[in-house]
Amino acid sequence: MSTALESNVRIQQENFVVTDEIEAIKKVSRNIGGITTFLGTGRELSKGENISKLDFEHYPKMAEKKLEEIRIQAIKDYGIIEMIIVHRIGEIDIGENIVLIVAAGEHRKETFKACEWAIAELKRTTPIWKRETTSTGEVWVQDTP
């Protein structure tokens, strides 16, 4: 696989720095005029219950493969210049970064569309699971039927 795969879609335990990812995507082209970023963070409340901890698990190789498919399709379908996707796994505290999608393009409209599509597609197709710890115990969240 290309180096693009290794750097542009990642699943990792450690935190990421939004500015670093944006600066990396800027280097791809001097024709980038708009960059839309979606950052998902750990909320305290879920269905009215207080969450104390989140835990993410993924299916290695398949999850990375799905993220790369999303990146390729976003570039193709929305005409953006580049996309970076990073998802963290392992224990995540309230307020911490979970997932980042960066869509860079010449104009803003396609970057909004691509970014919003990509996070929905990630939730739909990428084998990553979230376990929430609340006062009543631990539960695997099942969002997608």
Binding site: G40, T41, G42, R43, F56, E57, H58, Y59, K61, M62, A63, K65, H87, I98, V99, I119, L122, K123, R124, T125, T126, P127, I128, W129, K130, R131, W140, V141, Q142, D143, T144, P145
Partner: protein, 83 residues
């Protein structure tokens, strides 16, 4: 041998991370499901009732799919990545 991987809630139900099944050189996912049901009927029901998705060598597959010796099967509960 065919490897079956269990993820998230499925791992708790199975009580293990993966299984090995000897199904000959070629069979279908539905036959593998019947084999799984012998020791874990709940999981068999979840597969047949589409409560979990099944992947073959990293791609989502239907129950009619042919699987071969050496394939990696995974049982995937509904995803909840992102936020």
């Amino acid at each position: 041998m065919i490897t079956v991987k269990y993820f998230a809630s499925l791992r708790s139900i199975a009580g293990k991370e993966e299984d090995q099944f000897n199904m000959g050189s070629e069979t279908t996912l539905i036959n593998l499901t019947h084999e799984i049901s012998k020791t874990a009927p709940i999981i068999g029901e979840m597969i047949l009732g589409k409560k979990v998705m099944v992947s073959v060598n990293l791609d989502v597959a239907s129950l009619e799919s042919i699987i071969r010796d050496g394939d990696e099967i995974a049982l995937l509960p509904p995803f909840s990545g992102g936020i």
